[in-house]
């Protein structure tokens, strides 16, 4: 019987500082991951936490981790060349096949951009697979902006609205992501999907705002961040009602997600 709790070692290739608090770890990895999946990363001296894949390329994947609290601190003592224990990938993924040939709207807040970044890059690299891409990415303030270079890159092919919650800066709008949803030309789309990822409150209000603008619930996709000790349906931490986020999620269609009640 396979030991689903046993992680394997992977070498850290590089560590890039994104903000004061967020770092991207590039880790050697051979294998497929789907957009929106996550790994259980072993955080030295602490334990495991589920971390979304924020980037991938030939022979590596990336994780963007926020240095906050006790739980993730241990990982920041690691250097390139050190070994990181991890297991995965886990969870379902955004239904890219359903997105093909349609307009796509991505609304993300803060580190919520990490789980959608490989999806965005997929349509950036394969524009022939999609139609238009609209991206609203919100951050608390200028110091919290993640993936600056890639946001600039996306501007080349996507309609991008970067925004800061309550401050202004050149190149940024001001206000919560919800304040900008009205700018999306939903009426001009023939068929489309909306992906919303961020803190629970942000996702809830962004989804409500979309619905207010006439977006059908089943066109909206969200991704849940939950505590998980196992990611394989045993530890119970991520359960909401009869649903195990690790097994059936983290990506849910909003028509189902709205029935999951904590």
């Amino acid at each position: 019987m396979e030991n689903i709790m046993l992680p394997s070692p992977h070498k850290i290739l590089s560590i890039v500082k994104e903000t004061q608090a967020e770092y991207t770890f590039r880790v050697a990895y051979e294998g497929e991951t789907k957009h929106g999946q996550f790994f259980q990363l072993s955080i030295p001296k602490v334990g495991e936490a589920p971390i979304s894949v924020s980037g991938k390329g030939e022979g590596y994947i990336e994780f963007t981790i926020r240095k906050i609290g006790r739980l993730t601190q241990g990982i920041f003592g690691l250097q390139p060349g050190d070994v990181l224990f991890m297991r995965g990938p886990y969870g379902n993924a955004f239904p890219v096949d359903q997105f093909k040939g349609k307009d796509l709207v991505v609304i993300c807040g803060g580190t919520g951009m990490a789980p959608v970044k490989t999806l965005l890059n997929h349509f950036y690299d394969h524009p022939e697979e999609g139609k238009s891409v609209h991206l609203i990415c919100g951050f608390k303030d200028l110091g919290c902006v993640l993936f600056t270079e890639e946001i600039e890159k996306f501007k080349g092919k996507f309609h991008v609205i970067p925004t800061l919650d309550n401050s202004s800066a050149p190149g940024f709008e001001t206000g919560m992501v919800t304040a900008h949803i009205g700018k999306i030309p939903f009426n001009s789309f023939e068929d489309y999907n909306v992906v919303i990822v961020g803190p629970p409150v942000m996702m809830r209000f962004a989804a409500l705002e979309c619905v207010k603008h006439g977006v059908p619930e089943d066109k909206i996709w969200v991704s849940f961040e939950r505590r998980m000790s196992c990611a394989v349906g045993k530890c119970g931490h991520c359960k909401i009602n009869e649903t195990y986020v690790c097994l059936e999620g983290p990506v849910f269609n909003y028509s189902r997600a709205r029935e999951l009640l904590d």
Binding site: R227, H237, E242, Y244
Partner: protein, 546 residues
């Protein structure tokens, strides 16, 4: 028809006697004992063999021992004859194409004996393992220690497969009627055995399965069981409970008197096969190494129906929700569930409401009192331990009514939004202190955290453990980023109650998670009554509906 222990004893004795007859030459004592022997006469071989033996013994004079020694040497050792003019009593000779010793059959029986931990018997070192004497002795041992299937398999594959040909040779080369009669009896007895074992296997016949055992006779049985198994039962830990009271929890028992059967255990049986804290693997800076179990022995767990029914619920989580969990599976495989009869229940029990008062998937059931134990054995492998005891008619009884009852509401999925926001749950905000004691005492709570333990502050050497957790703990849903999905004790209580009496069944079908043991009620330091919580919800929903 029931086969009594006395008959089993008689069968094993006859195998041993026949084994002795082929093992070496007869002596006077053996002949004397044969004179008083009464044999079954269920078929012609047995009848005629017994008659021939009686005739020989009746006519035997003082020279009989010498005469038989010569006959034994000639027939079985091929003394004084050209090759082939004997009946060499080894299976390989009769089953190998070239009729020689130590062939495939010999290898097979060697493996079988070794698999049972049997070496060569004292004084029999000169015999091949597939010698008839040793094969009969092994079959006798199986009557005492093996299953019906094992007995039937050995009888058919290693005795009846060559005995007829061997008997024909004995008939041909024997010089006295003695060994011809013995062989005839052997053939007849083995035919009788085949019929018996076929009957037992098909269920037309049955072994006695229930026994009365005096407590003083239980001690050696427990000792024998403990040679092969670790035996766990509810046990008293003086002054280790709340406020200096005794704690009753499951532990490995050394003596019968360790078993606490008159009180409810404070903790459930789950800790026996799902430890409170368990090392999953050890790691250094380079690799992880899976932890192997320290004790490979199988486990007998003596538990009440509620706890036995709870095992199936834990199986559901660990083995059927996603991929199976190796650590749980390997403990679970070793587990033999013995039912500790529970006829009355205790305070706060409501197993009848949850349908978990009856458990039938046990390997043995035990009713204990101060004088004796009544035992029903379902798994044949445990029969040999009880075969010498007094057969009786016993099957365990179950609680049919508790002092308290649950009114489990029939919740529909679409009611959940309404139930989630009920003010009802707020009553627990001030009362519950989030200690998780209810989760710990619950036989079906399966949640855990993983925790890394580092051996030295400066190194990366350490181990990962999984440790019981619980949904009533304040930080149960707190993510690495600090977000909390359920923020109040009331929300946690709602989550727990609905998991136990609604969404587990919704997800997995069949049964609710809660087994109604009431331990969470017994255990709560703030006197939160989970049964009242269920019934209160039920009343509230009924009121709303109406």
């Amino acid at each position: 028809m029931m086969i009594s222990k006395a008959e089993s004893r008689g069968r094993a004795d006859l195998y041993r006697l026949l084994s002795r007859l082929y093992e070496r030459e007869a002596d006077q004592a053996l002949l004397d004992s044969l004179r008083g022997l009464s044999l079954p006469e269920d078929n012609d071989d047995l009848k005629q063999g017994a008659a021939a033996l009686r005739d020989y013994l009746a006519a035997a004079g003082p020279d009989a021992v010498d005469e038989l020694a010569v006959d034994y040497a000639a027939v079985f050792l091929a003394a004084g004859s050209a090759e082939g003019a004997a009946a060499l009593p080894c299976e390989s000779v009769y089953t190998s194409p070239r009729r020689i010793f130590m062939q495939e059959a010999w290898e097979q029986v060697c493996r079988l004996y070794a698999g049972k931990g049997l070496g060569r018997a004292e004084g029999r070192a000169d015999l091949m393992e597939d010698h008839l004497a040793l094969e009969l002795a092994f079959q006798g041992w199986l009557v005492d220690n093996g299953t019906v299937r094992e007995q039937k398999s050995f009888l058919e594959s290693h005795l009846l497969n060559w005995l007829p040909a061997f008997a024909a040779d004995v008939d041909k080369y024997g010089r006295t009627p003695f060994y011809k009669a013995v062989t005839r009896i052997t053939l007849g007895f083995l035919a009788l055995e085949r019929g018996l074992l076929e009957g037992l296997e098909s269920g037309e016949l049955s072994m006695a399965r229930s026994f009365s055992v005096r407590n003083d006779r239980l001690a050696p049985i427990l000792a024998r069981l403990k040679e092969q198994y670790r035996v766990f039962a509810p046990k008293r830990f003086p002054k280790r409970g709340l406020k200096g009271a005794d704690l009753i929890r499951y532990g490995e028992i050394d003596a019968l008197t360790d078993i606490v059967y008159k009180e409810k255990s404070h903790l459930s049986a789950k800790e026996v096969f799902y430890p409170v804290s368990q090392t999953l693997f050890r790691f250094n800076g380079e690799e992880c190494t899976q932890e192997e179990p320290a004790d490979g022995r199988e486990i007998i767990l003596l538990a009440r129906p509620c706890d036995i029914n709870a095992v199936r619920r834990l199986d559901t989580i660990f083995l059927r929700n996603g991929q199976p969990d190796l650590y749980y599976a390997r403990m679970r495989e070793k587990l033999h569930l013995f039912l500790l009869e529970c006829k009355e229940g205790f305070d706060n029990c409501f197993c009848v409401s949850m349908g978990s008062n009856v458990a039938l998937d046990y390997e043995a059931a035990v009713r204990i009192d101060d004088i004796c134990a009544l035992v029903e054995v379902k798994n044949e492998a445990f029969l040999p331990y009880f075969q010498d005891e007094v057969p009786i008619d016993f099957a365990p009884e179950f609680v049919s009514e508790n002092r308290r009852a649950a009114r489990v509401p029939e919740i529909r999925r679409e009611q959940l939004a309404e139930i989630t926001v009920l003010d009802y749950w707020k009553q627990f905000d001030d009362k519950c202190i989030g200690c998780g004691g209810c989760n710990t005492a619950c036989p079906t709570c399966s949640c855990f955290d993983t925790v890394d333990v580092i051996y030295h502050e400066t190194s990366r050497d350490g181990e990962r453990r999984r440790v019981w957790s619980g949904c009533m703990l304040e930080d149960f849903t707190r993510t690495a980023g600090g977000a909390l999905a359920r923020k109040t004790p009331g929300a946690n209580m709602r989550f727990k109650v609905l998991h136990k009496i609604f969404d587990f069944k919704l997800r997995f079908g069949e049964e609710h998670m809660c087994v109604g043991c009431g331990r969470c009620i017994d255990r709560c330091p703030k006197d939160i009554d989970y049964l009242d919580a269920i019934n209160g919800l039920s009343d509230l929903l009924a009121g709303k509906e109406g």
